[in-house]
Symmetry: C2
Subunit: 187 residues, 2 copies
Amino acid sequence: MKKLKEIIDSIYPLTPEAYEALSGVCTPISIKKNTDLQAIGQTCKSIYFVKKGALRVYYYKGETDITDSLEFEGAFVARVESLVTGQPSKKGIQAIEDCELLMINADKLSALYDSYLEIERLFKQLFLKAFISILNRIEGIQFHSAEVRYANFLKECPDALKRVPLKYIASYLGITQVSLSRIRAKY
Amino acid sequence: MKKLKEIIDSIYPLTPEAYEALSGVCTPISIKKNTDLQAIGQTCKSIYFVKKGALRVYYYKGETDITDSLEFEGAFVARVESLVTGQPSKKGIQAIEDCELLMINADKLSALYDSYLEIERLFKQLFLKAFISILNRIEGIQFHSAEVRYANFLKECPDALKRVPLKYIASYLGITQVSLSRIRAKY
DNA sequence: CGAGGCCTTGACCGCGGTCAATGCCCGTGG
DNA sequence: CCACGGGCATTGACCGCGGTCAAGGCCTCG
């Protein structure tokens, strides 16, 4: 069970007043394994903080289900393209385990920016982290073999294997279950 | 020869005063073909607007030279990771043709944000466009064959073929010159 | 005219994809 | 409590895309 405050402190600490204000726009949510937190086609108006559990962002490429990202305790989840453009998202968010979340309403959040510059900076920081991790991911896809990508993934998320079905991990790594299975067979 | 004003107007039009202020932090620059605008290892403190010519952002993956992006008239060029982190960049910017540019100093630019909210919004918009185009690029890399990527590239930049050496295009598409050559042989 | 850079082409190979068969685990109902 | 069915994972056979290595043509520039 992760605390929002601890995560924030590790990124961009807030004054008690700002933290209070931020808490005011957070709503606790529980969601069951294998249900959708946000369905494909909805417009994303929230950012979620994961207190407990595991989620995946996914979409359909033709017939096949692709896992776009995997998120665990302590992470923030959002569908940024939809959040900033206001367009319905082609991606959905699904619980892989029973989850406890905080829902942060995006409109209420940006209303806080005027009064609390530090909150704006915090989320700017979160956004930049996401941006840079995407740049790294491109490098991974373009230059590393599936085997190396799998090894890196294990290093970053050692407990993912026990919690996430292999088929999700495979499409997250950009390969098929079959290929992933072969890679695992070699240790 | 592209005008900065026209491009801005097509993205987020500014009032005359704001446009004046922005012009005040722009410096015209000329640079010769095959020379570096910014060398690898420098910290990026500028955003460039391309009035004329063609540039590429590149870096070294081991021994091999990789073209990260290609930019033509009307585009903005920056090394965002370096700009936001303040770290020296692993990427360089090189002129593929003789170029005429406007250099926008990043510090002076952000100093304008307080007085001109619209300028901040303009650049926020530019940044978001870059973010979304990166998301699309990931899709391209992950799901389209080299042949399709080449076809899409031709559609987006029809004149690139005449202006950019094939070896740069190849690494930009994430393949070798040899493979690109074979793809081209099939039309 | 020679040298070097750029592009093309051929021979060869390995990674990862598809298709299909099989094994395993688990929930449900007789 | 066991039997069955379905979803997930593994394995084998096969294949094609794109990579490497090396040779050869072509252009430009000194």
